[in-house]
Structures are given as C-alpha cells and as structure tokens.
Amino acid sequence: MIEFMSIIRAIFGLALLPALASAASQPQQLSAIMTFESKVLSSEGVEKQTRFQERFIRDGRNVWTVRLLPAGTPPHVHQAGDHQHKHDTNFVLAAKWIALDAQQKAQLKFVRQETKTIITPRTEEFAGLGFDGSWEHAAYLLDRSALQQMRVLSKPAPAGCQWYERSGDKLYTRVLWDQAWQLPRQIETGSLDGLSFNRISIERRPMPATMPWRTLAGYRAVAYEDLLD
C-alpha cells in the first residue's frame, strides 16, 4: 500500500478534490491484478526499469491488496533483531485490508499470513503508513470527481471505457476509465520530454471462492503502536 498509494497520490495529488459522497458509494465486487511499471533515463545515461504486481479484491465494504511474488523471488529477509524487541514494521509484503466501519469510515489493517497477525494502526498513523484515509481512493484507485477535470481523449478505447488526460508544462497523466467496473484499466503518467514513464495496468480476474478477509479465523490482533520500540 505504501508504494501503491503514494503512486496514486503522486498522480492525483496535484488537484485533489473532495471525494464524491464516499460514504454512500457501494462499489461492485471485483477482483483484479495490478501491474506497476516505471522507466526513467538518468543524466548518466542509465535506464532504470521497475515492475511489480499486486492483487486487488474489493466488495461494497472491503478492499484487499497484496503483493504478488514472481516465481524465483528470493526469501524475504527479516531484519536483525526481529526476534528481540525490534519488531518488523515493514508492511510491503503484508496484505493491506481497508474496510468501512459502522460509521462509514475507512479503517486500515495489515494482515501477515506468515505470523497469522492482524496489525491495527490508529487513525492518526494511517497517513504515515501510506493510506490517506479515503475510501474513494482505496475502492476506485482515484478520486472519480478528478476525472471530470480532465480532457476526454479521442484515443480508441475498449467498450464502456474512456481515455482522460491532464497535462501540465512538464508532466502528463492519462487514465483509461471503465465505467462498468468503476475502476481504471490503465493509469499512465510521465514527463513530456519522455525521460520518465509510469504505468499501472489493471486486469480483471475471477473472484476468489472466499473473500480473503473471511479467512482470518485464529489470527491474533496486534496494535501497531506495540511494534514501536
């Protein structure tokens, strides 16, 4: 979530608008894979590329994202001292579970399968952990009202989809929005000089038989504050 949300925010942060009646919105059930890619050419002539994928599952009240590890991913390294008091506060590989509570407020939890723990931060800690608290951003990956401020492109798009663009003096953002899914299929951003490029591609997948947040029996609750030394 940290990387993912900060990418989304970096794209839309320039003109964040109040979320569209976020409490009332009930997104449809959907399961997808998100692919994040970036490419940049440095002034020392080095081209750097990155790529990673995350699973995205949502229903009307929950959004679950988790990193997908390609075959051959080296085992992840626990920091020295993990087994003493220096607790692991690296949540990159934990599932991020954002759920609406009874007050229609989005609550963030990290779920660690390997230790069967659910880590709950306080609301004030959300932003520091990469979640801005917006259900709209979590469930739709962007602020849908921001699309209204963008230019509609005549670029060919799949049925039910539409390309939008916003461009400044140096940077551009393009979104391929799927009206039925209520989710982007593609978000592209980059510099107009072509030196840097980022893309998030979203492909639909079948729904899992059981929603992942319904498989947490026996998990232990841990307060995020208790992980701080």
Binding site: R9, K48, D88, A127, G128, D132, D229
Partner: protein, 462 residues
C-alpha cells in the same frame, strides 16, 4: 576509623575540586529518547533559526555540556533499555534488559508476560529507588507507555523490556510482583499504556485478571484518564498520582494539537508532577521523557521528530521557570537534560542560511535547488537507513499537498539503506545540566553513560 574516612574525603576532595557534595535536594532528569546531536540542531533551526537556542541549550550558560558514550554491554549501538538503565543504575547491561546486573540475558516474553528465569541476573538499585529510600518523593512521566523501556528503567527490574504486564505489576503497590524497593510506591506515574494495567476482560492485556488501576486507587492514588481530568487534579492536595491517558503510547505532539485530543502535553504532565512531588520537605526525583521523538525518528518523519523535540524543550522551560519560583537560583535543584542514544538522521549541505530545515537544499550562494548527480533535488534532512528508499530517485516538490511532498506532516525523509524501520545510531549524545551549585558543573567532558549515575548520586550526597 573516623580518621581514615576523613582523610579519604580530604584526598578525594583535593583531587577533584569540583566534586559535588550533596547540594541537590531535588533532581529532574529529562530524557529525549533518541534525541541525538543532529536532532537538537535541527530542532533549534526549526523553532529558533540557526542563530537561536533551544531552552535545553540555555542551561547554565551553555558551559555545562557533556558528551555521553552510549554503547551497551553487548552492543555497539544500544537500545533504550540498557542506556536508560545505565543512567539510572551505573551498570552497563545487555540490550533489552531493564535495571539488572550485566550477566542478565534478555528472554523474549510470552506476549506481554515475563518469561525471565528466577536465576537470570539480579536487580540493581536505581537512583529513583535510592531517592525513595532517603524519604524523597519520586516520579516518572513520559509520552510513551509508562511501562516502556525508559520510564521502566527508573522503577522496575526485568530481563526483557517487552514484558510490560510484569513491569506494570512492579508499580502496583503491595500486589504480586511489586518492587518493594519503591516502599510506599511511586508518587507520580504518568503517560500512556492503560492496557497493561487492565485485564483482558476490560479492554486490557493483563492475563492475570488484575485491574492495577483499581488496586492503585485503593492504595490512595488519584487517577486521571484524560488531559481534562489531569487539569482538574489539585496537585497541592494530592500525594499519589497515576495518569494513563491512552491505551498505548500518547499521540505525537503534531497529532495531539491538530486533532485537539484530550491528552495532556508533556509540559502539562511535568508541571503537575512538580506540584505533587515538590511538597515533600526531603525533596524529590522526577524523570521526564520525550519518548516519541524516537518513534518519529524510526519512521524517518522529521516533522514529527522536530515537533516532539520542541514539546520536550517546552517542558524543560516550564520546569526551569517553575523551579526558579520554588527554589530561586536553583540552589538545591539539579536539572539534567540528555538523550539515551543517537539516530541516523543527518543534515545535508550546503543549504542557504534561513532555509526551511524540513525542505529541500537551496544553494547558499544562488538560492537555487541543489541537485544530485541525476539532476534531482534532495532534502536537507536524510537518514542513514529506514523505510523510504525509492528504487529510482525523482525530483521532490517542496509543498504539503500530499505525503509525497516534503513539507507534508507525514512525509518520510529518504534513507541510504532500506530497512522497514530506521535504527538507532551509535554516536555520542549531548548532556546539559544546571543548578545545585557545583553539582551541575561535574557533568563535563566525554563521559560514559554509567558515570551519569554516580554524578547524580553525589549531587544528592548519597
């Protein structure tokens, strides 16, 4: 026998002309958790500009500043348990250990319950316990849980800092697991962490079913659970005060103020503690910790670091002013301000004087953005390690519209090595002291952290 003692006294007095001889009736020990020299400098620039001074730096005309070596018994870079314990007991112990002998091995607890074996090391006396034994009033206040390593090192003894249920029990007067060296108990204990005082059935995490808050109230403690409840406590007519203002740690100062949370500031707690403790004719010992400076540093969030450091510095100012009223010239009051260890935050060059310490580096000649070899700007404050190391660096925006912009409340400074949580640093820390005549002048030069204990002890004349 008498003759030998006198001779020994004379010789040692002669050899060390500035040896303190018990001028201090009261000691207030301020501990900024993780507040290394770069944090002090950055906080100074943040609030008072380059040419200004923090309140802690004004102590005794800046002449009583020492450097403290912080290594622990087993580690080049310490954690807060043995470093605070060294200040409080004069003994160097292993990382994770709280005020125990050097042979004590840390044993990871079961949840929050102690798993320390009975023969695993021995408790060593703390300066707070010694002060209590001399009839002084004693207390500890913090912005973390009151059972966290730093406050725990003043009043508890345990083989592992994470056993916070057992640490809480050591403060519960007369109950199972009580630290009898505390006599009739701590006179003041304030901070966060009520979960360690309540049973699991009452939203706490105690597995023994005890409600330590009720137990302490039965022993005559006044209990405050919020900032407004604390404000309503009449310190002049209170001799035992327990304040637990959050289930876990108190909020960061930035969040407390912005969210108008009903938690006391460190200054509020410090002043109330003095009001309660200073009534005792024999004097008092008070420990005040700015505990979340360390947490913000671990998250490489410099803005919260600096706001919590300023809140800590404001508590020092309030205590100085209050004690000047009660003890003009601080003749009998020693005030010490230090940190338990450093962090890996550092200050990049070559910024223009007057530029925002939280911002990007502006060339001191041209005022233009300084750039890295790839043409991207960078912030003045960065960390040796921590969570924010991007696969590819990019240009930074000096705004606060969202978390990716460097002036945002939740911006995380960039780091050299990527770790989930930033580590402590192994560098020396600063110590400032004032008051109690010659006593504060004994803190000078580069000293070991264990030496601080013996200087406190001789300041009291113990």
């Amino acid at each position: 026998m008498k003759k030998t003692l006198l001779a020994a006294l004379f010789v040692s007095a002669f050899a060390q002309p500035s040896l303190a001889a018990g001028e201090a009736k009261n000691v207030i020990f301020f501990l900024g958790d993780g507040m290394g020299p770069a944090t002090v400098t950055a906080a100074r620039i943040y609030k008072y500009k380059e040419e200004g001074e923090l309140n802690m730096e004004k102590l005794d005309g800046k002449t009583r500043t020492a450097r403290v070596k912080t290594f622990s018994n087993d580690a080049q870079t310490t954690d807060s348990a043995p470093s605070m314990s060294a200040y409080m007991t004069g003994v160097k112990m292993n990382n994770e250990v709280i005020s125990m002998s050097p042979d004590t091995k840390p044993t990871k607890p079961n949840g929050k319950d102690s798993a320390c074996a009975a023969n695993n090391g021995k408790p060593v006396d703390t300066i707070l316990e010694l002060a209590k034994a001399k009839g002084k009033a004693v207390g500890a206040v913090t912005t973390t849980t009151v059972t966290h390593a730093t406050p725990a090192a003043t009043y508890a003894h345990i083989c592992h800092r994470d056993a916070e249920n057992a640490i809480a029990a050591q403060a519960a007067v007369g109950g199972l697991g009580y630290n009898s060296k505390l006599g009739d108990g701590l006179d003041v204990l304030m901070g966060g962490g009520w979960q360690f005082f309540r049973p699991t059935g009452a939203s706490g995490v105690r597995t023994d079913g005890r409600d330590l808050i009720a137990e302490l109230q039965a022993k005559g403690y006044t209990y405050a659970a919020s900032g407004s409840q604390l404000a309503a406590v009449d310190g002049k007519n209170t001799s035992k005060l327990l304040g637990l203002f959050n289930k876990s740690h108190l909020s960061y100062e930035l969040d407390r103020v912005k969210g108008k949370l009903d938690e006391p500031s460190l200054k509020d707690m410090t002043l109330k503690a003095i009001e309660v403790l200073a009534k005792k004719p024999e004097g008092f010992f008070l420990m005040v910790e700015g505990g979340r400076i360390d947490h913000a540093l671990h998250g490489t969030n410099a803005k919260k670091v600096l706001d919590d450091t300023i809140a800590f510095d404001d508590a020092i100012k309030a205590a100085l002013d209050e004690m000047q009223k009660r003890d003009p010239g601080l003749k009998n009051t020693l005030i010490v301000v230090t940190a338990d260890h450093d962090h890996t935050m550092t200050i990049n060059g070559y910024g223009k004087r007057g530029s925002n310490i939280l911002g990007t580096v502006k060339d001191y000649k041209t005022g233009a953005e300084s750039k890295d070899v790839n043409g991207n700007n960078y912030t003045t404050l960065v960390f040796g390690n921590g969570p924010n190391r991007k696969p590819v660096r990019s240009n930074l925006l000096e705004g606060d519209a969202d978390k990716s912009q460097v002036l945002h409340d939740d911006y995380q400074q960039e780091t050299g090595v990527r770790l989930g949580s930033e580590t402590h640093g192994g560098g020396d820390v600063m110590l400032f002291a004032t008051g109690a005549g010659v006593a504060s002048k004994t803190f000078k030069g580069t000293i070991d952290n264990t030496k601080v204990f013996s200087l406190l002890k001789s300041a009291y004349g113990f």
